[in-house]
């Protein structure tokens, strides 16, 4: 992981932990996110940088500190690759 990047596993876990946010992962790894009429399919790289994290905070209400402290994400279990 780079100094600023957040892994997609953590980002997806954080999105799933937000009440009212639906997340589904497509066959090619694309991620469809829906919340209160906002619906989009994002193609995530392995690591998400600052601007994409801010978008997830703005549109879906993901607390920024969850990205950098994944142990604070409710129900988060680290994935072993």
């Amino acid at each position: 992981m780079s100094n600023s990047g957040v892994s997609r596993d953590v980002a997806v876990a954080a999105l799933r932990a937000v009440k009212g946010v639906d997340v589904s992962i497509g066959p090619d790894g694309e991620i469809t996110i829906a919340k209160e009429g906002h619906l989009e399919t994002l193609i995530f790289p392995e690591e998400l940088e600052k601007q994409m994290l801010f978008r997830l905070k703005y549109h879906y209400g993901v607390p920024i500190h969850w990205f950098f402290n994944p142990q604070m994400i409710p129900g988060y279990t680290p994935q072993i690759h």
Binding site: S4, G5, T32, T41, I43, P45, E49, Q51, Y58
Partner: protein, 155 residues
């Protein structure tokens, strides 16, 4: 002799026009056939700002609220194109229109990007076709027929 168009009679479902001024205004148009299962979406002169973001590149639509990230500028552009097409497809399947996509990016999101001195500005255009009837192929149709009472099938 009148030209026959068959069953496809395009209907404009949604459109948006951008600011006047430079002659290249953002335009987005959605048309569909009468049965509503074939859709065509054309986006033209959509402004996109691309900025470096850590070791990656981030592409954000200005006239349309969609974004992508990639390891290079080219990858960010490719992901923008693929992801936006998939997003349009999702909107058509769920809402049957793309009005929710045809919105300017929020100022809060643009604020940090537009002041970046290394920002690159591009104009993005695409035309895509979407057959949302495909979702009802195969097993689902058989399942639905199984649920129809026999008397209705006889008629």
């Amino acid at each position: 002799m009148a030209h026959k168009t068959g069953k496809i009679k395009p209907v404009v479902v949604a459109s948006v026009a951008g600011d006047e001024g430079d002659g290249k205004n953002a335009v987005a148009v959605q048309v569909c056939n009468e049965s509503g299962d074939l859709h065509g979406v054309a986006l033209q002169y959509i402004r996109v700002v691309i900025v470096p973001d850590g070791p990656a590149w981030f592409a954000q639509g200005i006239d349309i609220d969609y974004a992508s990230q990639g390891a290079t500028v080219e990858e960010a552009k490719t992901n923008f194109e693929k992801g936006l097409r998939a997003t349009i497809d999702q909107h058509l399947r769920v809402y049957r229109h793309i009005r929710g996509i045809l919105q300017l990016a929020p100022p809060e999101i643009l604020a940090n990007l537009l002041i970046d001195s290394s920002a690159q500005y591009k104009l993005y255009s695409q035309v895509s076709a979407h057959d949302i009837h495909e979702a009802l192929q195969g097993g689902q149709i058989s399942y639905l027929l199984d649920e129809v009472p026999q008397r209705e099938l006889v008629q």
